[in-house]
Amino acid sequence: MSDEVAIHVRGLRKAYGDTVAVAGLDLDVRRGEVFALLGPNGAGKTTTVEILEGYRNRDAGEVRVLDLDPELALGSRLRGSTQPPRAPGHPRSWRARVGIVLQGTGEFDELTVAEVVRHFAGFYPDAEDPDKVIERVGLTAKARARTHTLSGGQKRRLDVALGIVGRPELLFLDEPTTGFDPEARHEFWELIRDLSAAGTTIVLTTHYLDEAEALADRVGVIAGGRLVEVATPDRLGNRQEAQATVSWRTPDGRVESAESATPTALVAELAARFGGEVPGLTVTRPTLEDIYLRMIGQR
C-alpha cells in the first residue's frame, strides 16, 4: 500500500466552533498523480489541505500522508516528538519529503530571492541547487532583488521555489497561480508537468477550471465539506456522455442548433445538406465549468 498511496483519508471532520468546515471527507491520492481539488470558497478546501500538510489538527477521521499521520508533524506549540529525529517515521524526515506552497505568502522583505531560496535549501537533506530552482520558476533576473520589490506573480513564484527546493515526493499547492498573467500560468503549468514527469505527487487546489483540466490526472470537487465527486477531468459529471450541441447558420442567416448524442452523424448529414462546408459550424460539449457549476449549485 505504501508504494502506491500517497494520501489516504477516511471520514475527515473538522469544525470551528459551530461551523463545520469538513464534514466526513474521504480521499485517496496515488503516488505520482496530479490531483486537483476544486470547490467554492468556504467549501473546506484549505482546511482539508492544511490538515494534510500537518498545519491543523482534526476532530475525527483517519489520515495518512506518505505513511505518517500529519498530526504528528503539527507543531503549533513547542512540543517535541518521542522518535529519534532521523527515523523515517519522524515528523522531521516527513517534512523533508513534503513540499508546501501556502495560499498566503510569508514575506521576507529585507532579503533577496537568492538569499531566501538558499537559506531554505539548507533545511533539506537533499535540496536542489538554489540557482537552478530560481531558474525553474523563472526568477533568475530577479535573483538579487529584495523580495518586497517583486510583483504579486513573482512572489508566488518564489513561494513555489521554496516549495520545491527540497525535492519533495509530495507537493501541495494552494491556489498557486492566483495573480499570474496568462503567460506566467502556462510557464507554471510546464513546471508542474516537469515535476510530475519526475515522479512528484502533486495536490493542488484551484479556482481555475482550465488549470485543473490542463494539469490534473483526477479532479475532486469539494462542496459543503465533502468530496462530492472524483473523476478524470473529461469524465467529471459524466461530461463525456453529455449530449453535444451542434449549431450552424441556415441559408437565411439564422443560427440553428441541435442537441445530439451522435454529433458526428449530424455534422455529416449537415455537410451533405449544404454540399460541403457548413456555415458557422460549432460542436460543443458542456465545459468543465458548466459541469462544475451544476455540481456545486446542487448543494
Partner: protein, 282 residues
C-alpha cells in the same frame, strides 16, 4: 507514474549524509536574522539609535557631577545600557515576532524540516550580537564624548558581564513570550512599547532611582529592568554609592536571583504559550 522506481523511504536512508549539523543550522539562522535586522531601517533606528540619542541628549544637558568626581554620565550610562539591552531583546522580539507571524513567515518555517529550536537560536544569536555591538557603541561614545570612567578591576568587568548576560536572557525570553499576546502584526508594538516606557521611567533609567516615590520603587522591583540598572550601577559607580541604594548595598545576589527568576518565568511562558500561526489561522 513511476511508483516502481521509488523505494518506500529513500530520503530517510540518505538523509544524514548531507543534512547540515545543528550548529551550522543555528549559525546560519542567526546570520539571516542579523542581516534582516541590519537591513530594516526602522529596526536599526529604533533599537540602536534610541539609546544612543538618549545618551547624547541627557549627557549633554546634565553635565554636572552628582558627587565629587562622579559625573551624571556615570549614573546615566547604567540606565542606558540596561534600556538598550531591553530594547534589543524584549522590544525588538515583542514587536517583530508578531509581524513575522502575521506575514506567515513562521508558518513557512514550520512547514520545513527545520528543527524548531533553530529558529529560536537564530533570534537569540541576533539579540546577542546586536546587544554586544550596541553596548560597545554606548560605552565608546560615553568614554570619548562624556568622559565616562570604565571599571578598572576584573571583578567589576565580571559583574558587568553576568548582569548583562542574565538581563538580556530574561528580556529575550520575556520578549518571545509576550509576542504571543499580540493578535496582529500591528499590535505587537502597542503591547510592548508602553510596558518598556513605563519600566524605563520607574526603574531609575532617567531619574535617580531612590528619588522616586517608594511605591514606584516597589513596583519597579518586581521587574527585571530595575535590577539590571542596579547591577550595572555596582559596576560604574564607586562602591560607597551602594549605601544609597534602597537595600543599603548594590545587592548583587538579589540582582542575580530576580533576573534568574525572570529567565525561568520567561522560559515557561515561551514553552507553554508560543504560537507559530495567528489565531485566525487555527
Amino acid at each position: 507514474m513511476s511508483t516502481t522506481t521509488r523505494p518506500a523511504a529513500p530520503v530517510a536512508a540518505t538523509a544524514p549524509a548531507r543534512r547540515l549539523g545543528p550548529t551550522r543550522l543555528a549559525l546560519r539562522q542567526g546570520r539571516l536574522e542579523i542581516r534582516q535586522f541590519l537591513r530594516s531601517r526602522e529596526s536599526v533606528v529604533f533599537t540602536l539609535g534610541f539609546p544612543l540619542i538618549m545618551v547624547l541628549i541627557f549627557a549633554s544637558i546634565f553635565d554636572e557631577e552628582i558627587a565629587p568626581g562622579v559625573s551624571y554620565t556615570q549614573y546615566f550610562i547604567t540606565g542606558m545600557i540596561a534600556t538598550g539591552l531591553m530594547t534589543v531583546s524584549f522590544q525588538n522580539l515583542g514587536i517583530w515576532i508578531p509581524i513575522e507571524r502575521d506575514r506567515g513567515v513562521l508558518k513557512r518555517y514550520l512547514g520545513t524540516p527545520m528543527p524548531k529550536w533553530v529558529w529560536f537560536a537564530g533570534k537569540v544569536l541576533m539579540v546577542l550580537v546586536i546587544g554586544v555591538a550596541m553596548t560597545a557603541l554606548l560605552l565608546a561614545v560615553s568614554v570619548t564624548l562624556f568622559d565616562l570612567n570604565l571599571p578598572t578591576d576584573a571583578t567589576s568587568w565580571l559583574t558587568f558581564g553576568w548582569v548583562c548576560a542574565l538581563g538580556i536572557t530574561a528580556c529575550t525570553l520575556c520578549g518571545i513570550a509576550i509576542s504571543s499576546l499580540a493578535r496582529t502584526a500591528r499590535s505587537g508594538s502597542a503591547v510592548v512599547t508602553p510596558i518598556a516606557l513605563v519600566l524605563q521611567f520607574i526603574s531609575g533609567v532617567f531619574f535617580v532611582f531612590t528619588n522616586l516615590p517608594s511605591w514606584m520603587q516597589q513596583v519597579a522591583a518586581i521587574f527585571p529592568l530595575k535590577w539590571m540598572c542596579q547591577g550595572l550601577r555596582a559596576v560604574f559607580l564607586p562602591e560607597s554609592f551602594g549605601a544609597d541604594e534602597p537595600g543599603g548595598s548594590f545587592e548583587l545576589t538579589r540582582v542575580a536571583l530576580v533576573l534568574g527568576v525572570w529567565c525561568v518565568i520567561g522560559l515557561v511562558l515561551c514553552l507553554t504559550t508560543f504560537r507559530w500561526t495567528t489565531r485566525r489561522d487555527g
